[in-house]
């Protein structure tokens, strides 16, 4: 039985919204609600995977273009935009943050005016699914849905620990589904005005999610996220209007394929919007503030959805940015963000904050790759998107579970995690290794990124990348070390991770391992077709031949060493002793006897080097530098065109 893709597509965009309403009506956490989320989630996942598989195996994706009769959807979109604007105005007035209204009006009203006065171009294809969309479908469908399932269990525990927060978990879960619906809509839209609509939904959704706890901090942070994203939305709106009214272009694919003169102005505006969405410097602070919300929202924002929209847009625009000032500025901003955020990540000990900085840093790398506009750059960027989505969502979820079990998410408190919570520690180790260690996925893409920078002669990027790699290694490895520390005479804590969370975490862990082996296949079947569509050319394997074999041997070795040691009983015959404390251990390796004969506790903290790279020292200068870069880009390219 063959189901028409168009029906599945409609299903995928609409069902999450229906799910949101259903879940929103179930106020209390109950087995029924979990069951609904689980069933609905897996149905959506199956549909998304189905679409992706059909499109990826079709070879020619031109058949998946849909001329919709757009009269009714157009009205829905328009009504939706007005609704979003109303929502923003309502919250701005309620919390007396009036500036948000301005951004919302500036972004929405001109577009509405354009639509209502019939100045908008009637495009042909409103929806299409090409290979890139299919790949994004896989990310949103698998990673995003797993996070929703995780959330159903997590929110119950969350309210168990945070009794001061009003339980509105139904609306939180509903928002997550809205988010996914918007994501499916965005990646399958080719019409710029549709993309804009879904773009704004995600902005408002993330605003509502970040403000979930309604503490003062949450409100402040959520409004910061809102104004930054709406600012980007304004950029998008102007780009959209220029496209429609000056060039008669209504579709993204026309923009990237037409080769018309002067299109760089809207491209720059879209790229600017993408920078805000992907939380590049100078707009990084909204993502850092986003961690006040419950962990599933961070996982969702950081891995499968929000920030990925920005880089999705940049990768789409990549061919047009080749060799332009916009492209150069975007790569420089991305490279700079990669380096600065990785230094900042060294100095924080809050687990979620390290993850946030690492997201910003990695997205910087993706941005930089996309900005080069070369085939190798896009190859690396897509690979990075894939690996980052899986690893980062796993890490966030694990940190959330650790917090639920231990009551803290500080890295210092994860000292000896391998003894306290072995299962979570093991998953965490795989997640962290997935982010930076040799045979794992992120490194493959970083490697490709390096090659693409070298080939495109971007010296500054090469320097940013190599120095950034050094600091990246430092902050991940010291976290890994904290987890691996074995403390004597400590006991396993009760692992209270519920089943629903394991349903999400365990597949993601396997996915990371699987992707180490599968990356040559992924390159051939997922990334190369994207290059084919974007550049109408293919590239020789970025990492190919004997290197792949060697990588496979390395992966095998990484897993063989622990297994082998178990069988060979290495070190089992050795005498156990306490670690060296200059001969004054007091019974275990956590206490020593000082020079007055007193027993003292011993604790080794990680290095944070705050005096040198601290947020106080580095954050604002980085923001200023990046702000100047963005301003230069906008003034020269956009201002220069008039």
């Amino acid at each position: 039985m063959i189901i028409p893709i168009q029906n599945v597509l409609d299903f995928l965009i609409l069902v999450p919204f229906v799910m949101a309403i259903v879940v929103g009506l179930m106020k209390k956490a109950s087995p029924l609600r979990n069951a609904v989320i689980m069933t609905g989630g897996f149905v959506i996942m199956a549909a998304a995977v189905y679409v992706a598989v059909v499109v990826l195996s079709a070879g020619d994706t031109s058949e998946f273009m849909f001329f919709e009769d757009t009269a009714i959807p157009d009205k829905v979109v328009m009504a939706g935009e007005i609704f979003l604007m109303g929502l923003v105005c309502f919250y701005s007035i309620r919390y007396k943050k009036y500036y948000a209204i301005i951004f919302s009006l500036v972004g929405t009203v001109p577009v509405l005016w354009m639509d209502l006065t019939g100045r908008a171009v009637e495009g042909s294809t409103h929806m299409r699914i090409d290979t890139f969309a299919a790949v994004m479908y896989l990310i949103v469908g698998i990673v995003g849905i797993l996070i929703c399932i995780y959330a159903s269990g997590y929110m119950k525990d969350y309210h168990h620990h945070h009794t001061d927060v009003v339980d509105r978990s139904n609306s939180f879960l509903a928002l997550m589904f809205v988010f996914l619906g918007a994501m499916f809509g965005l990646i399958s839209s080719d019409s710029l005005s549709y993309i804009y609509f879904f773009w704004e939904i995600t902005s408002v959704c993330s605003f509502l999610m970040i403000g979930y706890t309604r503490t003062q901090e949450a409100i402040d942070n959520s409004f910061r996220a809102l104004w930054m994203n709406l600012l980007g939305g304004c950029g998008f709106a102007f780009g959209l209007m220029i496209c429609n009214m000056q060039y008669g272009i209504s579709n993204l694919s026309e923009l990237t394929d037409s080769g018309m003169e002067g299109l760089i102005v809207p491209v720059t505006l879209f790229a600017f919007a993408a920078l805000t969405k992907s939380a590049q410097f100078p707009f990084s602070r909204w993502l850092l503030g986003a961690m006040v919300a419950p962990t599933p929202s961070s996982a969702l924002l950081h891995s499968a959805t929000m920030v990925k929209i920005g880089v999705y847009m940049l990768i789409r625009l990549s061919p047009v940015m080749y060799g332009t000032l916009t492209g150069i500025m975007i790569t420089v901003i991305g490279g700079f963000t990669f380096f600065a955020a990785s230094l900042l990540a060294i100095t924080v000990s809050d687990g979620k904050k390290v993850l946030a900085y690492s997201t910003i840093s990695n997205l910087g790398l993706i941005t930089a790759c996309a900005g080069t506009g070369t085939t190798e750059g896009v190859w690396a960027a897509v690979m990075l998107v894939l690996f980052h989505a899986v690893s980062k969502s796993l890490l966030f979820q694990t940190v959330g579970d650790i917090e639920n079990c231990m009551g803290s998410r500080d890295i210092e408190d994860m000292h000896g995690l391998i003894i306290k919570l072995p299962r979570l520690a093991f998953i965490m180790i795989i997640g962290i290794c997935g982010m930076f260690m040799a045979p794992f996925g992120m490194l493959v893409s970083k490697w490709a990124a390096l090659k693409s920078f070298v080939d495109s002669g971007s010296v500054w990027l090469v320097l940013f990348l190599v120095f950034g790699s050094g600091s990246t290694l430092f902050y991940w490895a010291k976290w890994l070390g904290k987890i691996c520390t074995v403390i004597h005479q400590s006991f396993e804590l009760e692992d209270i991770t519920p089943r629903s969370e394991l349903i999400s975490i365990v597949p993601l862990t396997w996915l990371i391992i699987l992707m180490c082996f599968a990356f040559p296949w992924m390159s051939g079947h997922m990334v190369q077709p994207i290059l084919d569509e974007a550049f109408h050319t293919n590239i020789p394997d970025v990492i190919g031949g004997s290197d792949v074999i060697i990588m496979m041997i390395m992966v095998a070795m990484v897993f063989m060493i622990p297994i082998g040691s178990r069988f060979l009983s290495i070190g089992k015959n050795s005498k156990m002793t306490m670690s060296y404390v200059a001969g004054v251990n007091a019974g275990d390796d956590r206490h020593y006897i000082d020079s007055f004969g007193k027993e003292r506790a011993l604790y080794m903290s990680n290095w944070y080097m705050e005096d040198y790279f601290g947020e106080k020292k580095l954050l604002w200068p980085s923001i200023y530098i990046a702000a100047i870069l963005v301003a230069v880009m906008l003034i020269v390219v956009v201002g220069g065109a008039f």
């Binding site: 070298v454 050795s574 060296y580």
Partner: protein, 289 residues
């Protein structure tokens, strides 16, 4: 992967510890003579390691052994990859992975000296990681390939085009070979504030494994130094060997002249040197290309 690949790798596995051990002995002899002492015989490192393997091994935990074994295996693997003619970037990625395993071994002990050593070792890695990657990139700029097997067939020695990279690399070798002023993580010298840092809680055959791995590592580093001089002509090999000897001697000399510095000085100095020498060199190459 053909037959010669395996032979070369095998040769490295067999010969590297012999050369590495001798180098280590030479180093001690050099140092002693510089200080006006007689010094141990050149084969002393072999006696030491032999003795270590016959001592009782005490461990702090069982994971420790796992990491140390992993470190040894990965280091040997890295060297094989290099000498068999593999991809330079992959060599350095594998190298940093093996280093991380060693650091994890120290972290797992929960001992104050070990963990202090581990943190310092990580910082040292942060210092030299940019340079190792840049070396691979430099060779790529100079000769157009990342594969060692292609690089050794060059027309002209790479040093002519990438002298800045060479200076940077020799500089970070001070860290890599654990020489003062940058031997923060292990303190190979007297006045041992660190009680041998990283390896404090290792003993017996475990310590022997680390020593063994470091020999392999030294040979790998010298191999990379030689790469700067190798061309297709056989005479270049003599130059390469002379260069290795000189660099090794220089490292020992530096070791004996300079006192240990603070970690932040190390970070600033190494990054500055890398940026100034390798960075400028890269910029010039890019303009010329």
């Amino acid at each position: 992967m053909d037959f010669t690949f395996l032979i070369k790798a095998l040769l490295y596995v067999i010969l590297a510890p012999i050369i590495g051990g001798l180098l280590s002995g030479t180093d001690r002899l050099f140092a002693a003579r510089m200080q006006g002492r007689q010094g141990p015989p050149i084969v002393q490192p072999f006696y030491d390691v032999y003795k270590l393997t016959h001592k009782q091994t005490t461990v702090v935990n069982s994971i420790q052994v796992l990491f140390v074994t992993g470190y040894l295996i990965m280091t040997i693997f890295t060297g094989c990859l290099f000498f068999a003619g593999g991809d330079m970037l992959l060599v350095f990625f594998a190298l940093s992975m093996s280093e991380v395993l060693m650091v994890m071994a120290a972290f797992s002990t929960n001992g104050p000296y070990s963990i202090m050593g581990a943190q310092r070792e990580l910082l040292q890695m942060m210092c030299y990681e940019p340079m190792t990657l840049l070396v691979a990139i430099g060779f790529y700029y100079a000769q157009g390939s990342f594969m060692v097997s292609d690089l050794i067939l060059a027309d002209k020695p790479a040093i002519l085009q990438i002298p800045g990279f060479f200076i940077g690399f020799v500089f970070i070798l001070i860290i890599k070979l654990r020489k003062s002023p940058f031997d923060l993580a292990t303190s190979h010298h007297m006045h041992q504030e660190m009680v041998k840092g990283l390896t404090t809680d290792l003993s017996g055959s475990n310590l022997a494994m680390v020593e063994f791995a470091e020999w392999y590592d030294t040979v790998l580093m010298m191999g990379i130094v030689g790469m700067f001089f190798l061309t297709a002509s056989p005479i270049s090999r003599i130059w390469a060997i002379i260069a290795c000897v000189l660099v090794f001697f220089l490292e020992t000399l530096i070791d004996n002249i300079f006192p240990r510095v603070k970690y932040i000085t190390m970070l600033k100095v190494t990054w500055a040197v890398i940026l100034v020498f390798a960075g400028t060199n890269l910029l010039i190459l890019n303009v010329l290309r």
